[in-house]
Amino acid sequence: MTHDNRGHDGQPRESGDVTRPQPAAGAASAETAARHDAGGLWEHPLGAARDVWAVFVQGRRRDTHVYAGDVHAPDAEMALVLAKENYTRRDPCVSLWVVRADQIHATAQDAAEMFVPATDKSYRFGGSYRQQRKAFQSSYQAAYREEDQ
């Protein structure tokens, strides 16, 4: 995502502010913020200038809209026109979304550890049950043959 280090007024912020944006009221849950030991906020607005729009392209009807890049535009209609010119010149597209980039909130890059599973998550995957069944069946068959003799 292309958040830049200009404030909402388009003025450059202090470079140090970029990873430490102003806290939005009630935004961070105390628990998650405490777990993030780097001490920064775990989420923040992207902080783009007001005329920056993020563009999402849907390639085919069955697909999700995927972030493609940004355009500068005064309003949504103009943003869609520019998005069409810039992001749909070749590859298939059936629908475009544009959203003001300054309305997007993101988890902090240095808070990525909160997505790392704390425990073994294999019980959430079908594949791990297939493996168990295979292991069970092979030992069952081996036992059956031994009994047969």
Binding site: N5, S15, L41, P74, N86, Q109
Partner: protein, 320 residues
């Protein structure tokens, strides 16, 4: 939370951790902490690239009205549109490093910013279009292809898209090249002449052979530079000298030969002073192309004023 100390711009410990991260192959996202010097160098590189896309559209643009067929006219228009689009993408990436697009474009039209040496030269004939599409875009592809693995993630993402489109430019160029190379003796002579005029600027394109300076080493360590100038030039020669020979055309450098034991091309040292002069805006077309860009910038000032006025009038529309 509000008691957190502000991040110092160039804390040596943070700088050391940053260098470790990028050296281990990690990429940096927009908005993350950067050493001030990294920000400066990355911004310089990306602004220069953005400017070159915009100025690079101009030599080929001159040939749109004179393209020899409708198919060629449509393809060339598409290519020029791609280049301007690349400029748009790159200025946006540069903005994430702290300069606004308006400031960068103001620098460009005022002649305060640089753009690639090759775009300071004239495109005299239709054969020049073939040379630009094959060799200039081919040269750019070596640099940009390598930089796809650079450490600044937004630049790297945009380069993937740019290289995808540049591939079309090179394939289109090879088609124009082939039709001229297999054409009449006059067409072949025109192609050979264009190649002769473009050879030195293209060898210049990759820059001077790098001295092992602390600066270059830092750029390589930070992965703002991924391969040395000379490596990229050699990569280009290996890919494109065979294209010239395949069609029985002459490489314009009589000193060019393949050095088997070193696995590299030896070439006649070009006049590096010319590169410096051209880079500073002293090329045969520098002033004319800048004046054109400036004229259109001024002609379109009313659009920017209208947009800014609209934004001011609708400031309260922003969702709080």
């Amino acid at each position: 939370m509000s008691a957190m100390p502000p991040v110092l711009p160039d804390d040596p410990e943070m700088g050391r951790r940053f260098t470790e991260r990028v050296q281990s192959g990690e990429q940096i996202e927009a908005g993350e902490w950067l050493p001030a010097e990294y920000r400066f160098e990355a911004l310089r590189l990306i602004t220069m690239h953005a400017n070159s896309e915009i100025m690079g559209a101009l030599p080929e643009r001159e040939w749109i009205p004179r393209a020899p067929s409708l198919a060629r006219k449509m393809a060339l228009t598409a290519k020029v549109q791609d280049e301007v689009g690349h400029g748009m993408l790159l200025y946006r990436v540069a903005e994430t490093l702290g300069r606004s697009r308006d400031e960068m474009i103001a620098d460009l039209v005022a002649g305060r910013a640089r753009f690639h040496n090759v775009f300071h030269y004239p495109a005299e004939t239709w054969a020049d279009v073939a040379i630009i599409q094959v060799f200039v875009d081919g040269a750019a592809m070596q640099t940009q292809g390598a930089l796809r693995s650079c450490s600044y993630a937004p630049y790297s993402r945009v380069l993937k898209r740019i290289c995808y489109e540049e591939d079309f430019h090179i394939q289109l160029g090879l088609d124009v090249w082939r039709s001229l190379a297999e054409g009449t003796p006059r067409q072949r002579a025109m192609l050979q002449d264009a190649l002769r005029r473009w050879w030195t600027p293209i060898i210049h394109f990759f820059g001077m052979p790098d001295r092992v300076s602390p600066h270059t080493e830092k750029m390589l360590a930070w992965r703002i530079k991924v391969k040395s100038n000379e490596e990229l030039r050699q990569q280009f020669l290996r890919r494109f000298v065979p294209v010239i020979l395949e069609y029985g055309l002459e490489v314009p450098d009589p000193g060019l030969r393949w050095q088997e034991d070193e696995q590299r091309y030896v070439y006649t040292e070009p006049d590096w002073e010319e590169l410096k002069r051209v880079g500073r805006g002293g090329g045969p077309k520098s002033a004319e192309r800048l004046a054109l860009r400036q004229r259109f910038h001024e002609q379109h000032a009313w659009v920017r004023e209208a947009v800014n006025r609209w934004l001011q009038d609708h400031a309260q529309d922003a969702v709080a």
